[in-house]
């Protein structure tokens, strides 16, 4: 049976929701620590309808009144903002009334319909960008119902997947006969704050992709869809190194950290005895220094992940690719920065999957945000057209009521800002989707730099420059000949003048 781990802060938050609004609902952002344990990372009340409700405060709300549209859109936005190791894992309800957290109440049955509705909406909105993670979509969700009057919490596991014999699934995974089922689920409040292991990675995009359809104007959205599909395929086939090393999938993160510490210490002692590190163990020394650097910066022991991808023209059958002609290219450049938080019980295989998921999530999100803002999905008729999707910025989520900067185990979510957009955009988004107040000053803007606007111009100039060089080199030969013939002409003229003057001299004489 699955168990959900909650922190004290989560209980306080549920209480607060019930007190302030008498009936609230929202999403649960969580993390799958292992097969049986899910950790609740963050609860966010849905405040979509707050504005309309000002004068209706005493209206009694039930689950059947929940706006599934609002919930689905919050769900979607939140999953774009949380790191790849986290996901929206379910829905919570918090009410001042009793009976809400009773397993047999009518309300819980309605919750099934709510899940079903939200799921349909999610599928619809997701279909435009298709794939969302590198992995299979999740089929199990958490339902939490809190009653302030009873001070009780009800926790249920909701499954869309294979459960009834007549299972008939829609395009994705929902059974349309029974709509899914609730099953038992444990929960536990944990006193100690959760410890998170941060990992960082950046993904460098430096690819030129030919655009093979010459007949039509270039459709940006279509091209971006193709990019996402291709990168997803390669990401799935990729390998993730930790601290530049291959780590086996089967061990868990804690084992890896312990092992790393031991070997680092060994190296430290050996390098202190032998201060001049020989070139042969530069790799290890490099790792050590990078760790020390992190410590000095105070950012703790961040594990650096790197992604290596197969160098192949085609992942599967390489035999059937042919030469093709194209008259347009799409050049991607720049990096995407990832920062994820893992539980020390995660296996390395999971950690690697989270890194890949985060890269893909970040790519899809920024492209989606960019495409949503397009008025015309086609490239204008100019020879060069530059798309600049928004860049990723990070902000800390206040946890346990402690100021986020002081807490060592604070976690960061992210938002996307266009060039010139003020950080306050992220502040309001965080309030709306995640129900957190953040200080615009605390938003970390420099994880990714602004796209180099000079980048492409420089590159174009560069190639032009090169061509010019070639041209000058090619033309230098005739030039030299030209100057030589000029000399000749000059000398000839001088000679002529001389002869003429000599002749003139004699004639005059």
């Amino acid at each position: 049976m699955r168990t959900v781990l909650l922190s004290k802060a989560d209980e306080v938050y549920l209480e607060k929701c019930a007190q302030e609004h008498s009936f609230s609902y929202g999403i649960i952002v969580g993390h799958q620590a292992d097969l049986t344990k899910s950790i609740v990372v963050h609860l966010a009340r849905n405040n979509e309808e707050d504005a309309d409700l000002e004068d209706l405060t005493d209206v009694r709300f039930t689950i059947s009144d929940v706006n599934s549209q609002a919930l689905a859109s919050q769900w979607l936005s939140a999953s774009k903002m949380c790191p790849g190791s986290f996901d929206v894992i379910g829905i919570f309800i918090s009410s001042a009334m009793p009976e809400f957290a009773n397993e047999n109440s009518e309300e819980v049955k309605n919750a099934k319909n709510l899940f079903s509705d939200v799921y349909d909406l999610l599928l619809q909105s997701n279909s435009s960008f298709g794939v969302y993670t590198t992995d299979m979509a999740q089929t199990e969700y958490v339902f939490l119902a809190y009653s302030l009057a009873d001070k009780t919490l009800l926790c249920k596991n909701f499954t869309y997947g294979k459960h009834c014999k007549k299972s008939y699934f829609t395009a994705n995974i929902k059974c349309i006969i029974c709509g899914g089922t609730f099953s038992k689920m444990d929960y536990r409040f944990v006193e100690k704050p959760f410890e998170w292991v941060p990992l960082e990675c950046n993904y460098d995009l430096d690819d030129v992709i030919p655009i093979i359809d010459p007949a039509r104007r270039i459709n940006i959205e279509e091209q971006f869809q193709n990019i996402i599909l291709t990168i997803r395929k390669y990401l799935i086939a990729s390998e993730v190194f930790l601290q530049n090393e291959m780590v086996e999938d089967t061990i868990d993160l804690q084992t890896y950290i312990n092992r790393k510490k031991q070997s680092d210490e060994k190296l430290k002692t050996s390098s202190s005895t032998n201060s001049t590190a020989s070139g042969s163990n530069t790799g290890a020394v490099h790792m050590l220094t990078s760790n020390e650097g992190d410590n000095a910066n105070g950012s703790g022991n961040v594990i650096r992940a790197s992604i290596v991808m197969p160098v192949k023209c085609q992942l599967n059958s390489p035999a059937n690719i042919k030469v093709s002609e194209f008259n347009g290219t799409l050049r991607m450049s720049g990096t995407m920065f990832s920062r994820i938080y893992c539980d020390s019980r995660n296996t390395i295989a999971d950690v690697k999957r989270f890194v890949r998921d985060d890269v893909l999530r970040s790519l899809i999100t920024r492209i989606q945000v960019y495409c949503d803002g397009l008025t015309d999905p086609h490239v204008s008729n100019e020879a060069v057209y530059i798309s600049e999707p928004p860049r990723r910025v990070f902000f800390s989520i206040p946890a346990d009521g402690v100021s986020p900067s002081a807490s060592t185990n604070s976690i960061q979510f992210s938002e996307y800002l266009f060039r010139g957009e003020a950080p306050t955009v992220a502040v309001s988004q965080a309030k709306q989707v995640l129900d957190v107040e953040i200080d615009p000053e605390m938003i970390i803007l420099d994880a990714e730099g602004l796209p180099e606007d000079g980048n492409f111009a420089a590159r174009i100039q560069d190639t032009d420059h090169l061509d010019e060089n070639n041209r000058t080199m090619a033309s230098s030969m005739p030039k030299r000949e030209l100057s030589r013939s000029l000399y000749m002409v000059g000398i000839a003229v001088a000679l002529l003048v001389l002869l003429a003057s000599v002749a003139l001299h004699y004639i005059m004489a």
Binding site: E200, C201, N202, D204, L205, V208, P210, I220, Q223, F224, E239, F241, N244, E245, M246, S280, G283, H286, G293, R304, A305, S306, I307, V308, M309, P310, V311, K312, C313, P318, I321, K322, V323, S324, E325, F326, N327, G328, T329, L330, R331, M332, S333, G334, T335, F337, V379, A383, V384, Y385, I386, S387, E388, R391, D446, E448, G449, P451, E452, N455
Partner: protein
């Protein structure tokens, strides 16, 4: 300085006055192993320029060879010497024609020749001490279809290959080789050698295996699981990856810029050429692992140059034609037995081996390597089959018979005899294979299949092995047999076999009649001659039985002879150990033959083909 025996044998075969280039590998503390040479034409561009990229990486130009008193030595010498990059003291070798007697080797030190002694390395030691790497990767070339543009784009591509972001993965293992961390594995340190890496390669026993592999392991001679068919070297297979993660910006440096995308219209239109390449390198097993990364990068660059050459040649050839069209290049590796090393060529897809321009190139290659133009070496069908690919194919549905079953059989025991064996690879075909119930009548068909497999594996043909039905249909078609013959269980003999070989493969055969089994000893010398000059398997039919002769052990003085027989009447499973122990493939004396029956031998003759 060390010569391989194979190399000396090749030198010995040069019978014309000429000069050429030497290729060798440096290893250990500056030891040079000479492995190959080519022959230079007396006029025009040096052949060296043409073929240098065909060698595996690390096998480099290192000197000059002169056969006899060649007149253009002086002219070539300086040119070749100035192209030698890997050493300041190139080798100059002076050979007599057709013999190794009087061969002189010297180093060229500051313009003066210094005589050096040399050692000889026997072939088994060579195969044991050296190995090859074979990596696969793919790039896209975006270029205008002109030789200049291709040269420029290829240069950019090579720079990208060498920028340190590539990571190599030893296939089927978790061993990775990167530019910043070297080779990562628990057991390795900075002193580890290539042979330590080879020890880590998975053996077939570890991988889930069928019966066939077990029997291979059980055979008397250890079979290399990491090599290639007909080649005794270890081959390390390598996959290529690229690190997509940049080092994070340090200190106050600006962070890396975020993603941006630039759409550009290309005028005139360009082409995208997929470059799926396979690159090889040679390494001494005592080489340090630290060197591996650089060697692998060099091997990719060499393959890219080979592709570039292939694409540019195609464009310049086409200039007279109307439409310029680029084709996909592909790597092919060859392992001529005489060479003792691999040689790689790039051929274009959709351009067949029989295209005149392609034939012309092959002919030139034969000349450059002093190979006879009477047999194929570099046709696509000659390409080397690597064990890794064979294993991959075996896991899918395709079934392949056992290869070269005579390797490892007990010796014949002929006193003072000399063995004359089939020259090249063949597959062992016998009764009941491919679910065909041919027990009691199919032996000659099977013998024919074995002979056809020899022609297939030697690159003479790409035609699939003929089935019983195809043989019967053909014999009916040429009106040798009535219609009722098709689909029947009737025997065929040596003459039918020769007709089929003619029909299917365009191969002529010599038919030899022997009055009785007792007289077979008289043709031993003739068979020896056949194996020396033709080297093809021989079908022998007599009485009710047909066999394949794949070798003869013959003593000229005593006249004693034994025959290496491949028996198609075997009905068991394809297990090498059983086949060898029970004598289905083995040496047979005179008592093997029926004294009273007469025998017909079908001796296929190699067609002249290159």
């Amino acid at each position: 300085m060390i010569f391989s025996t194979l190399y000396l044998q090749r030198l010995e075969r040069v019978k014309l006055q000429c000069s050429g280039c030497l290729y060798g590998v440096f290893y250990g503390d500056g030891t040079l192993l000479l492995l190959s040479f080519n022959v230079e034409a007396s006029v025009g561009q040096l052949n060296y320029e043409h073929i240098q990229h065909k060698f595996p990486a690390e096998l480099d130009l290192c000197g000059f060879v002169n056969f006899g008193d060649c007149s253009d030595t002086e002219a070539h010498l300086n040119q070749v010497i100035s192209s030698v990059d890997i050493t300041d003291n190139p080798i100059v070798l002076q050979c007599q024609l057709g013999t190794l007697v009087g061969m002189k080797a010297s180093f060229l030190v500051h313009g003066k020749l210094e005589h050096v002694p040399y050692e000889v390395m026997e072939a088994p030691q060579l195969f044991n001490d050296f190995c090859f790497t074979r990596l696969k990767c793919g790039f896209f070339l975006h270029t205008l279809p002109t030789p200049e543009a291709i040269a420029k784009e290829m240069h950019v591509l090579r720079k990208r290959v060498a920028d340190g972001s590539l990571v190599f993965n030893v296939a089927q293992t978790k061993i990775y080789v990167s530019s910043n961390c070297g080779t990562q594995h628990k057991g390795f340190n900075s002193e580890s050698l290539i042979e330590d890496l080879i020890a880590e390669l998975p053996t077939p026993a570890e991988t889930p295996s069928g019966n066939k592999k077990k029997s291979v392991a059980a055979a008397s001679e250890p079979v290399k699981h990491t090599g290639a068919v007909g080649c005794a070297y270890d081959v390390i297979n390598i996959d290529v990856l690229r690190s997509r993660t940049r080092e994070p910006a340090v200190g106050d440096a600006a962070p890396h810029p975020a993603l941006s995308v630039c759409f550009t219209q290309e005028e005139p239109s360009k082409v995208q050429v997929p470059l799926e390449l396979e690159a090889m390198a040679i390494l001494c097993k005592k080489t340090k692992l630290l060197r591996l990364y650089d060697v692998l990068i060099e091997s990719i660059c060499r393959s890219l140059r080979l592709f570039e050459q292939c694409l540019s040649e195609r464009l310049t050839e086409q200039e007279a034609g109307t439409e310029v069209k680029l084709l996909t290049p592909r790597s092919y590796h060859f392992y001529p037995q005489e060479f003792g090393h691999f040689l790689s060529c790039a051929y274009l897809d959709d351009l067949s081996d029989d295209e005149p321009s392609v034939q012309e190139k092959r002919k030139r290659l034969h000349r450059q390597f002093a190979l006879p133009a009477t047999r194929p070496y570099f046709r696509r069908a000659n390409q080397c089959h690597f064990q890794a690919d064979v294993d991959a194919a075996q896991t899918t549905v395709t079934w392949t018979p056992l290869l070269n079953t005579h390797l490892g059989v007990r010796p014949s025991g002929v006193a003072d005899g000399k063995e004359y064996l089939v020259n090249g690879n063949y597959h062992y075909y016998h009764y009941l294979q491919q679910q065909i119930q041919d027990k009691g009548w199919g032996c000659a068909y099977r013998s024919l299949q074995t002979i056809c497999s020899w022609f297939l594996l030697q690159g003479y043909t790409e035609r699939a092995i003929p089935t019983h039905r195809e043989v019967q249909e053909y014999l009916h078609k040429i009106e040798d047999k009535p219609a009722s013959f098709v689909g029947s269980s009737q025997w065929i003999g040596s003459t039918e076999l020769s007709m089929c070989l003619q029909g299917f493969l365009n191969v002529d055969s010599k038919i030899l009649h022997v009055g009785s089994g007792a007289e077979l000893s008289t043709i031993a010398s003739e068979l020896a001659m056949h194996f020396q000059t033709q080297g093809t398997p021989v079908m022998i039919g007599g009485g009710v039985l047909a066999h394949t002769i794949i070798g003869v052990d013959y003593c000229v003085q005593t006249g004693q002879a034994k025959f290496l027989i491949l028996d198609p009447h075997y009905t068991g499973a394809d297990e090498l150990a059983t086949i060898q122990i029970k004598g289905w493939c083995g040496w047979k004396g005179m008592d093997f033959w029926d004294k009273k029956s007469y025998y017909n031998l079908c001796m296929p003759q190699r067609p002249i083909l290159y």
